[in-house]
């Protein structure tokens, strides 16, 4: 029991403290905005980490699901008069279905082949969003109505900060639960040896598909939040670069570290903002950050730090 308490409650408490304390250091609404973006991306990253870090299956196309979620909350209210929250759910279900249909064939692939297949999927979504201009507004994107919850309009960076923070914590808890469960163990087993996992009765194809769907739903919800928060959405949300950013966040924070998701998202959201004095330097900086971190902290920030820390303690 003690062990369970240790492993379950502390990270959660630490997270809650971070969410609550961080605003003390904020000096403007802009800071809240960055905070909200960090949590929204971290949510997608937690899901992707379940797929990549735990089950060991790469996806270079997860922004596709980000896009589905984002356009669901844009299109639902505009064309079908659906409430935004309901559109978010529709988007999540749709992402799950798409993940099921796409995942079934492509999750049989391994390594580089899986990488290019997921990449192809992501690019396809972006192309469709760009070309179906009647529905999506094409490359210029479309406006997204405000989220209404119980007759209350959700707007303002600070409100979104709290909403995104709370949602991230929920997503974090669900992921942490999964890790310490039969499904979670099965996923980790698949990562190390599919053969041994199958030999122990694990239906590898099904487990992979399930986690692909779960991670797609995480991304979809994050995409919906992004759209509702920004109030405007373009196909870039589903683009290749976004997929790469998500993967970079996973790897940066540390594959297989649920906590790392937050760190990875924070670094890749905050650093470019902080370093980008001129808009022109944004891409160069982003590329440089990715390279430098991958080279020098290749195990990811959280695992590298905790290894250093435990070595120091001993």
């Amino acid at each position: 029991m003690q062990r369970v308490l240790d492993s379950r409650i502390w990270p959660l408490a630490a997270l809650a403290v971070i969410v609550v304390i961080a605003p003390l250091f904020f000096s403007s609404l802009y800071d809240y905005r960055i905070g909200a973006l960090v949590f929204i991306f971290a949510l997608a990253v937690v899901g992707l980490n379940l797929l990549m870090g735990f089950a060991g299956q790469v996806s270079l196309g997860h922004a596709g699901f980000l896009g589905i979620g984002a356009y669901a909350v844009a299109i639902g209210p505009t064309y079908f008069a659906l409430p935004a929250w309901f559109s978010l759910l529709v988007g999540a279900v749709l992402s799950g279905i798409v993940a099921f249909l796409v995942g079934r064939p492509i999750l049989k692939l391994k390594g580089h082949y899986l990488a290019v297949a997921t990449l192809g999927f992501g690019v396809l979504v972006a192309i469709v969003l760009t070309n179906e201009a009647d529905w999506t507004g094409g490359p210029d994107g479309m406006n997204v109505a405000h989220l209404m919850l119980f007759g209350w309009k959700v707007h303002g960076s600070d409100t979104w900060y709290w909403l995104a923070g709370a949602t991230f914590i929920v997503g974090f808890v669900l992921a942490a639960n999964l890790v310490d469960s039969p499904s979670g163990r099965a996923l980790q087993a698949i990562h190390d040896s599919e053969t041994a996992a199958r030999m122990l009765g694990i239906d590898v194809a099904r487990k992979k598909l399930t986690i692909f769907i779960v991670s797609a739903i995480y991304a979809s919800v994050a995409g919906s939040y992004l759209a509702l928060f920004d109030g405007h959405i373009t196909p870039d949300v589903a683009g290749f670069l976004r997929s790469i950013e998500l993967v970079a966040m996973v790897v940066l924070g540390g594959m297989g570290s649920v906590f790392g998701a937050l760190v990875g998202a924070a670094v890749l959201v905050v650093l470019p903002q902080a370093l980008t004095v001129f808009h022109d330097y944004e891409q160069a900086t982003l590329g440089l950050i990715i390279m430098v971190f991958m080279i020098f902290l290749r195990r990811g920030i959280v695992p590298s730090l905790s290894a250093a820390f435990s070595g120091w303690r001993r």
């Binding site: 590329g287 990715i290 390279m291």
Partner: protein
Amino acid sequence: MAELLQFIFSGLTVGAVYALVGLGFTLIYNASDIINFAQGEFVMLGGMITVFLVAAGVPLPLAALIAVGLTTAVGLALHRLAIEPARGSSPVTLIMITIGASIFLRGIAQIIFDRRFHSLPSLFGSEPIHFGGATMLPQSLVVLAVAAIIVVLLWLFMERTLLGKAVTATAANRLAARLIGINTRRIVDFSFAISAAIGAVAGIVVTPITLTSYDVGTLLALKGFAAAMLGGIGSAPGAVVGGVLLGLIEALTAGYISSNYKDAVSFLIILIVLVAMPQGLFGRARIERV
């Protein structure tokens, strides 16, 4: 019929470029197991450097030569400064490094050059050649000829020279290659240099037709990667065939279905090929032994 021929011409031209990018992927992958996503940036650099040198008054042939040289240096630097220090990392980490490099190079290009589209004068003028009712730009012939020359030279090099054989040996079995005294690090250096040079040449010859800008690399890299996959990664003939096929499919889709969806169709086809023949057209299946 003339229409079909027209689409085939343009398909072959783009396909030749995809094939060259795919070849670049294959060279590096065989030598090091690394998927180099910055491959498209080599193409971009080749085109952009030439454009700006020509604009600065350098004669075209000299500009092209300098561009190839500089791009080759960038390829070498990429290996030495970004890939080497991360040796032994997981494949995902290495992929991310090359993607980071690609974003970085694009960002730098945007700063040094600009964000506009540029063209180059074509070597043999822009008077279209008529053939079977279809027309073809003289530059398209240049692209095809250059691609063919590169493929043949590369093949001769691999088959006939000691260094080429060392590259082949390294691709087949790195450990064994090292044991018989091949400096595999040098081989990887070399593969990055050659890939960069090939990419740069492709960028220079295709710019008069398709124009170039700082961000043409991404899609090219994806297509070239797709071409390599289509052919079966690790197979040089596969990359060439895959590239040409991809170019043709795209041109036909753009012509007969929708030009908006030409990119979509090529990715769709890749997905289908991967699912139906996971090893690509020319790749070999590997069984994991337990």
